[in-house]
Structure formats: structure tokens, C-alpha cells
Symmetry: C3
Subunit: 154 residues, 3 copies
């Protein structure tokens, strides 16, 4: 099943594309790869999901925030590429968690994003290389920010 | 107008290339991309710009520091490529801010770098994908460090 | 001398491949590049090397931790590629240090990894672009995590 069909089957609703909050493009395609800017966590209502995971937010809330980032990235890719069917595979992601000073479960947080990608693009093409780490601070105190590279067809 | 001409028109003076402070190359070209190492903030006098943005430094000082990193990256690219005219476009940047614990305006800081790139390479080719985030610490307590990928011609 | 021979000459013993601690692949090859997931510091006994460099751990212990990450990355590459001889060059690394709040010597820590890569792949092909920075937190409180991109042959 192709990603666009799979998206429909999963009944996923992609959020609107926010205006870039700085001098950058949400997605740049070059050399057969789509480079996706860091996307931040927003709820279904479009409001930022803020706070430190392991402090202000629970692990489960952090996972949900990471999943929301994934939906925003899918929306940005669909907008840039015309269709998600142009995605060949997820290549690499950098999952950045706004974590409390003693937090240690970053991979479990970013799994919320990674499981979504596996659902949409499949257990092979939807699973990429990844780092899941804790930042000192994130813009607007968002809970999660993720950037990624996808291989795409022309 | 080509980047090298635009650089002259803007009357920008590129700083000298510092000796790498570790076992790395400032720029590696592979697969049609120039991968640029993390460059750190130095003033026009070559001295490191240090301190936490939102604490030791104001937002405006952080922006200036980010712009200085941009000049250093242009210098490194010019040195490696022979001419900036080999740059096809800015693909992706990771802007890393040494931010105070409650700082939230990372995108505005990194815009100092991004606006320079847009000035030199143009509003399309000079604007790439980007993340702008806050680190726990940076080498020598520099205010800003940025790494980037540029698409280049052979 | 080819990397696999060099590895034997150096008498380096590569560690076993740990099971991924999340939804990701250790290495993804796409577009002529091997994208290597963030690998974390483990001792020769397989136990995680944890703690903040410049606090719980000395600079020298941090360097050793970074070298161990390098061995883990070599093991992952060898497993994915069949042989390290398919590596053309190290392109780029992001060295992430779990550093004490006042730590400033991140490049010296990550040199432990970079010197290993130079030993195995040579002073040209084994030295890539790099950033060496300090994170807020890392998974399981590991001392060092490094992700990298290598150019590979088909």
C-alpha cells in the first residue's frame, strides 16, 4: 500500500502548515533527499505543546507531543512534494526533547514520532537512522522538536 | 547576480580561516554537497564571542554572533571551493544557541545567520531548511555554533 | 591499506551490536551515504558509560567514552555493509557530550572518536566535518552520543 493510501486508511488528519517562524523553508529537496526543518510540537488545536518532559510533562505526554511533530512533518512533506507517494524512505531523524535535567528516556519519547512514520511508510521504509537527545532549551519552550531527511523520487 | 559578485557588492569582508580546534575538516565535499563543520562565533577581531544568550548576551548580541558565524562559514566555503559561485543553494542548517535556561527566541538569534545567507545566495537559494535550538553547553562557552549543508557544483 | 586490513593491524576488537533501544535502524544507506544513528558510550564490557563529563567524569574518561562510541559505530557499519572496505570516507559527525554546566572542552572529548576514525580510514578519508557540542541530557545519562554520515560504495 502506498503512503497516501495508508494515510487515508489510518484516518490521519494532517494539521495546517504553520508560517515559518524565521528565515527558513519547511522542506528543501536537493540531491534526491527532502531535508525537513525542525518542526515543533503543536496540539490538534494548533497551540504549541510546551514544557519539559519528565518535569512539566509526563513521558506519555512527551510521546504524544512527538507524534504531533510527526503529523506536522507529514503535512509539510505532502505540501512540498504534492503527494507522500514520492517518499521512498525515511533516512534519518534528529529527535530533540526539552527534557528535565534528570530525564533519561528520550528514545521512548521520540518513538511517538517514529511509530507514526513506521505506520505510514512501513516497517522497512518508515524506520530510519535516528538520534533522540535532550536539549538545553527549545524555541518557545516547546516539548519536542524533530528534523529529518527523507529519500524522495523526482 | 552570482554569489561572489553579490559578496563584493555587499562589501562583506570574510574573516581568516581559523585552524581547526580538533580532528576535523572545516568543509567536506561529497555526493554533490558541501558539509560544513560547526563554526563558532568570533568577532571581527577574531576573538571568540562567548556567553549565554538571554543571560550574558542580549538577543541582539546573539543575532550579531550568529551573523559572524555566517561570515566564517562563507570564508570556509570560499576557501574549500575556490569560489562561492560553486554554491547552488543552502540546503540545511543546524543553529545551536548557548542560551540561558529560560530563553525561548532561538529562531530570532539564528536569523542573523540566515539573513546573511539570503543576502548572499538569494531569497530562494539562500534560504534552506533549518533547526534553531538551545544547547546545554558549547565549546569555549561560545554564544553560537552553526553547521550546514550546501549543494555545490563539481 | 584498506580499512578492514587496517582494523586488523590495529588489533581493534569491535563490540557486539546492541539491540536498538527504540524504533530506528542503526544504519541506513541511501544516496551513496551510510547514515549512522546516534550511538552511545559503552565500555568493553558492554555496560553503558554514564555521567557528565567535567563533573562525574574527567576529560580523559570522556575521550575514552567517545572512542568507545567510535568502535560501536565501526561495528554497526561493518555489520550493515559487510565490510568496512565499502567506506569511501567519513563525511560528517555530530558529537554530543553530556557535559557539566561549565564544561568547555567538547572538541577534546570528541577527538577520542575522531582519532580512531583517522586511524582506521586514514588522515584524509578518516577526517570529516564535525560539530562537538554539549547536550542538556542524553538517554540513560550516557556520557557521549555520536551520529555520523559516511560515503560508501555500492
Amino acid at each position: 500500500m502506498k503512503p497516501a493510501e495508508r494515510l487515508a486508511e489510518l484516518n490521519l488528519h494532517l494539521p495546517p502548515i504553520p508560517k515559518p517562524g524565521g528565515v527558513y523553508k519547511p522542506v528543501v529537496v536537493a540531491g534526491g533527499m527532502a531535508y525537513v526543518s525542525g518542526h515543533v510540537s503543536r496540539g490538534a488545536d494548533g497551540q504549541l505543546i510546551t514544557g519539559r518532559v519528565g518535569g512539566d510533562l509526563t513521558l506519555e505526554q512527551g510521546r504524544d507531543a512527538a507524534r504531533q511533530v510527526g503529523l506536522a512533518i507529514l503535512a509539510a512533506l505532502q505540501h512540498e512534494l504534492g503527494t507522500l507517494n514520492r517518499v521512498k524512505r525515511l533516512v534519518k531523524s534528529l529527535g530533540m526533547v526539552n527534557a528535565a535535567p534528570d530525564f533519561t528516556q528520550h528514545p521512548q519519547v521520540i518513538n511517538g514520532y517514529s511509530e507514526l512514520m513506521a505506520d505510514v511508510f512501513g516497517a522497512d521504509h518508515g524506520v530510519g537512522a535516528r538520534s533522540a537527545v535532550g536539549m538545553g532549551t527549545l524555541p518557545s519552550n516547546v516539548a519536542v522538536e524533530i528534523e529529518a531527511i527523507f529519500e524522495v523520487t523526482a
